[in-house]
């Protein structure tokens, strides 16, 4: 029988919260709840208020851009262990992309207003959270730049074997 576990336990286990001290785990958990999205459902929509940070626990979510007359363009997929959403940290606090659940998605859903208020009140906590978000953003920026490089392209004709 599956044991019902407290949200603090799930928060503590998530890679985003790795090595956070117990006080920080408690602050984070105080803003968090469990949430689940069926496969195919929309988790967020572009330009809507970004009111949540999701710590993904299970499944795959796709960041998408709608294009008139075409299928949505998938920018990136995110999986268990990753976070979804940093628009809540940057004014005007609106989602930059659509987010769709590719599979069933289970996530720790952190209320953004609550988290921002705690970051403002406790700057050590805020610094830690911003630092972790910045690391995620840096990794994603780097990955996006690599895709601009066209990593898997063969060498140009002039430089390759005959």
């Amino acid at each position: 029988m599956e044991q019902i576990r407290g949200i603090d336990s799930l928060v503590r286990e998530h890679p985003f919260c790795q090595d956070l001290d117990e006080a920080a785990i408690a602050l984070m958990s105080g803003c968090a709840k469990n949430e689940q999205f069926p496969a195919g459902s929309m988790i967020a929509r572009e330009n809507q208020p970004s009111e949540r940070l999701f710590l993904l626990r299970y499944g795959t979510a796709a960041l998408e851009i709608r294009r008139p007359g075409h299928d949505p363009l998938i920018i990136e997929t995110l999986e268990a262990g990753e976070i979804l959403g940093w628009s809540w940290i940057v004014p005007p606090y609106r989602w930059a992309y659509d987010v769709r659940a590719v599979t069933i998605v289970r996530a720790i859903s952190v209320e953004a207003g609550c988290l921002r208020a705690k970051c403002d009140d406790d700057h050590s906590f805020g610094y830690e959270i911003y630092h972790r978000i910045l690391r995620v953003m840096a990794n994603r920026l780097s990955a996006t730049r690599l895709r601009l490089v066209d990593l898997y392209a063969p060498p140009p004709r002039a430089a390759r074997a005959p």
Binding site: I74, A153, R160, A161
Partner: protein, 289 residues
């Protein structure tokens, strides 16, 4: 020519063979893999088996057109059939792509250093491939599959531009189901009904799935992809002395004489193409090379 014979792999080639003389092979079968990529299945006209080690390459000669270095992508345990997967990107490979079953092609080799898969015995083995870079890794994957009990976790991390650019799509599920070699695949751009990952291959490295303290990685793809893959491996704790890469240069003679493939102090055709990264790493930072 006896001196030249000593330069090629004695374990793989019958003694006394002239490494500069192509052996004629008949094309038994041609398989179109992708829009610009095909696989040739070759058998020697003289019937002699063609032994090789994973990671080695041959010089393939399209008569009247030219010769080109192509990694071997077949099963090292099956020396009766020589397999090459090739992308048509130049005059010779485009001509090669127009050949049919029954045509004859010249083969020199095998040349170069192999993937040292024994370095991963008892450890996690991680293959990192980009685009057609999966083809030179395939013999190593098959060798691991054949001796699967000698390794801990086995993992293929594979990135390509689109789902249509993925090689060996039918084989990957077999590697997983029969040999417990998991495949994690990602594409830069999702098309059609693709429901898999979208993102760069380096992200798969960060996602883990292996014990970084006890893992050996084999990386193959375009050089820029390998550069960032090695950085990502280092970031998760797989140090350069446990990372092997396969370098691509303009190989001509195959035996380290002509100098076309020189990379700093190395002749890639003879000293490579497979290098342990800590022995090559500084050269990656010299952009003039």
């Amino acid at each position: 020519m006896d001196d030249l014979s000593s330069l090629i792999d004695p374990a793989a080639t019958p003694a006394g063979d002239d490494p500069m003389r192509p052996r004629p092979f008949r094309i038994a079968r041609v398989r179109k893999d992708l829009a610009d990529t095909f696989t040739l299945y070759l058998t020697a006209l003289d019937g002699a088996p063609f032994a090789f080690r994973p990671g080695q390459f041959n010089m393939l000669y399209v008569f009247g057109v030219g010769e080109v270095p192509i990694s071997i992508s077949g099963d090292p345990a099956d020396p009766a059939v020589l397999v090459h997967t090739t992308r048509a990107v130049g005059t010779v490979t485009e001509a090669m792509g127009r050949l049919k079953a029954g045509d004859v092609i010249g083969v020199r080799g095998p040349f170069g250093s192999p993937w040292p898969i024994e370095a991963a015995h008892g450890q996690d083995v991680v293959f990192v491939a980009g685009g057609v870079g999966l083809a030179p890794l395939r013999p190593a994957i098959l060798a691991v599959a054949r001796h699967r009990e000698r390794f801990a976790n086995a993992l293929l991390l594979y990135g390509s531009r689109t789902p249509e650019d993925l090689l060996y799509r039918r084989e990957m599920p077999v590697w997983r189901s029969r040999h417990d070699i998991a495949s994690h695949v990602t594409v830069d751009r999702a098309t059609g009904r693709w429901t898999g990952r979208v993102g760069v291959v380096t992200k798969l490295i960060r996602s883990g799935g292996f014990d970084h303290r006890h893992a050996v990685a084999y990386v193959c793809g375009p050089e820029v992809m390998m550069r960032y893959a090695v950085q990502a491996l280092d970031a998760v704790g797989v140090t350069a002395d446990r990372v092997y890469v396969s370098m691509e240069r303009n190989m001509k003679c195959g035996i380290g004489l002509c100098g076309h493939c020189q990379l700093g102090p190395h002749f890639v055709c003879r000293d490579g193409p497979v290098y342990r990264f800590d022995r090559l790493g500084p050269l990656f930072d010299i952009w003039e090379l």
